[in-house]
Symmetry: C2
Subunit: 291 residues, 2 copies
Amino acid sequence: MRLARSISELRALRTDLPEPVGFVPTMGFLHEGHLSLARRAHKECAAAVASIFVNPTQFSPTEDLAAYPRDLDRDLAMLESAGTDVVFAPTSDAEVYPPGYATWVTVGGITERLEGASRPTHFRGVATIVAKLFLLVRPQRAYFGQKDAQQALVIDRLIADLNFPIELVVAPTVREPDGLAMSSRNTYLSPVERRAAPALRRALDLAESLWQDGERSGAEIRSRLTALLRADPLARVDYVSVADPDTLEELETVGPRALVSLAVRIGKTRLIDNTVLPPGSPLLERRTSCS
Amino acid sequence: MRLARSISELRALRTDLPEPVGFVPTMGFLHEGHLSLARRAHKECAAAVASIFVNPTQFSPTEDLAAYPRDLDRDLAMLESAGTDVVFAPTSDAEVYPPGYATWVTVGGITERLEGASRPTHFRGVATIVAKLFLLVRPQRAYFGQKDAQQALVIDRLIADLNFPIELVVAPTVREPDGLAMSSRNTYLSPVERRAAPALRRALDLAESLWQDGERSGAEIRSRLTALLRADPLARVDYVSVADPDTLEELETVGPRALVSLAVRIGKTRLIDNTVLPPGSPLLERRTSCS
């Protein structure tokens, strides 16, 4: 495994990689979710590249940029074990956003809902850093986790709209044994909060069982999930959404597919999770797994 | 020369091109200015690609999108004579901006001044189409004319900020014998307007001679050029700018370099032109001509 600490080092290492290149962008402090993406990139592509960069432009001034957990040595060991060939871990924010930086990539429509509603500049930061990393790494395939479902939809739109010659692979959410979706932010949870956190997965299980029992009312599903989450005294519901996966518009009636997504604060930690109905459906309608 | 009328045709033709690829994006209705770029791409690169697309997103609803002159057959013959290998001329706007299109590239700062001040969404459209074309054509070099100086500065910023692996070449403005900068919009001018149009070049000549006589006051240069232009009854001055070429901020005192740029309406036709002081200086400070 080779480590690039600058853009010029990355460009030099990229030149020698066999194609197809698979790319896993991360903010570091890796967990099994990231590693499942890295292993898949290694298995399905001739070379696997990962990036580790806590992207400041996707945090708002009130968010946890400074506190975001970091452990580069541990991340590098984990990526090496997953078969990653090149890691891009820039030494500073200025390497990525030098003085005078002025260019932004925005995806409209779906970014105004859900995460975008409470984090108005978040997806501008995400789309911009991903566009930059795509241009630096020039992958044939990019791997994202379904845990951040709206992010995956934004990247799907970005790839299609700007004509990136990249296949997007959205991999299943990896969970702890009790159902909590893996997230670098889980480290913020106190022991008592950690015990409350699987309420998100239980709410998604309820959505799936309601659907299987024939429930098709978006309002009823939202109401039942909200009630389940509110039953936990540590949980504060930010949103419970039952939406069209293409537009993220809330559904009155669940049609052929629906994205059920949640954002819930457990103490000070904001957790998100989601599932697609019918249970087991892919997030993206067209085929996105590797050929 | 091969013609691609769709994105998929372009992708297929691009695969077979030797590198480096030189790219000349145009809105068609070509003139000698475009051809000087196409010839240079042909001479300096292993393959030359041109695009012909009247990009709707860089026109405001009140501008001349529908009236913009078009002549594809003539354009293709001209590009062939200039040694172009592949032309991308999509058959429809929807090929480039399909239904549901939602992604925009914005360059801040310099886009709010000069052309951007009177055309607020213009450079968003320019940056977006150029980013898309760069991703489709994947050139090693891109050729733009200095006549649209602010556009060249925006593309320079776009390339640097999004990490496009592209060398920007800004080629000198090509002029009619009487000094009028070549522009597809010159075709709008009536005979009497056409005779008034070289006033722009005379104003730039005045700026150069003032500078050579030691004049360094931005206000004085602006004032003298404005007076010259206003002397023509057909001319209405939109702006006369003496600005820092890096920031486009108006200069009180002309320092090591200044961009003198003009926008003037002759009748209903809005013309732009510019020169860099000291006379003969490049628009971009760092070296951008081909190695």
